[in-house]
Amino acid sequence: MQQYIEMEGETTEEALNLALEELGVDRDLVNVKVLREPTKGILKLGAKPAQVRVTLKEDISATPEAVLDEIFSRMGIEARIESQIIDGSIHLAIRSDRPGLLIGRHGQTLDAIEHVLNCILSKSSLVKRKVYIDAEGYRERREQMLVDLASITAKKVRDTEEEVVLDPMPPRDRRVVHLALQPDKSVHTYSRGEGLMRYIVVTPREVPNGDSEENAAV
C-alpha cells in the first residue's frame, strides 16, 4: 500500500511542493526523501534539478484503498486493490471473484461505489484528488466501445445527413462520446432527455468552407 511519487524541481522545496500538489495532501501526511540535491553546473551545463521521493504515511486511516476495503468486506466481497497515481488522480484497480457484481449494469455499481468513496474521502479531506476505480479493465473496454460507437455513428450521420439518436447513457459515458466527436467537424453532438433517460443526439454540422475531406473519423 506504499504510495509514493518522485518529483523534480529547481530546489528540493519546489520539488516537494509539486509532489504535494500532485498527491493532493498536506505536508504532514507524507514522508520526504531527497533523492538528489540540485547541482548548479556552469552556465547550465551539467546542471541537474533536485529530485525528491514523497511517500504517503501509512498511518492514514482513510486512504482510498482502506475505505474501499472496509466497504468490500461489509459487502461480503473479497477483492485485491492496486493503486496507481496517473496525472495526479488516484486510480484503483480492483480484482475480485465477482467482477460482474461490482461493475453492475452499464457500470452502475462501479459508479455508485466510486461516488460514495469520493464522498467519504472528501469528508475526511486527507486525499483531495478525485479517485477513480475500475474492475477488470471494465472502464477501458467500455471507453473503447463508446469511441467505436461514436465513430460509427458519425459515419452514419455523414452518409445519411440525418440525425442519429443513441441509447440513454450515464453522464460519464456521454462525456466520452461528446469528447470523441468534438474534433469531427462534420457532426455535432448534444444531449436530450432527463436523468437516467438522457441520451446523445448526433446531427450533421454545416461545413463553412466545404473542405470536409480532412475530417478523418475519430
Binding site: I71, M75, I77, R98, L101, L102, Q108, V116, I120
Partner: protein
C-alpha cells in the same frame, strides 16, 4: 451484515456519526434497513439530486446479490416520528 455496511458508509459520510442509527427489520422477502441521521446531516446522505442515497442503495443491492438476500434502505427523517 447489511446493517454493518450501511452503518459504516453513513458514519463515514456525516458530521455527527454518533447520531447515526440503523434499525434492521427482517421481512419475509427482504430486510428493511431504517437509517436515521442528525437532521443537519440528511443532505450528506442524500447528496446532490439524491445521487449519494441512490449510490448507497446500489451498493446495498449488490451486497444483496452476493448474500442471496434482498435488502431495502429507507432514510428516516428524524424529528418526524
Amino acid at each position: 451484515m447489511f446493517k454493518d455496511l450501511i452503518e459504516y458508509i453513513a458514519t463515514s459520510l456525516v458530521d455527527q456519526p454518533d447520531q447515526v442509527k440503523v434499525h434492521e427489520v427482517a421481512g419475509e422477502k427482504a430486510t428493511i434497513l431504517e437509517l436515521s441521521v442528525a437532521e443537519e446531516d440528511l443532505g450528506k446522505i442524500i447528496g446532490k439530486h439524491g445521487r449519494t442515497l441512490k449510490s448507497i442503495r446500489n451498493i446495498l443491492y449488490a451486497a444483496g446479490i452476493q448474500a442471496n438476500k434482498r435488502a431495502v434502505l429507507e432514510l428516516i427523517e428524524s424529528g418526524k416520528d
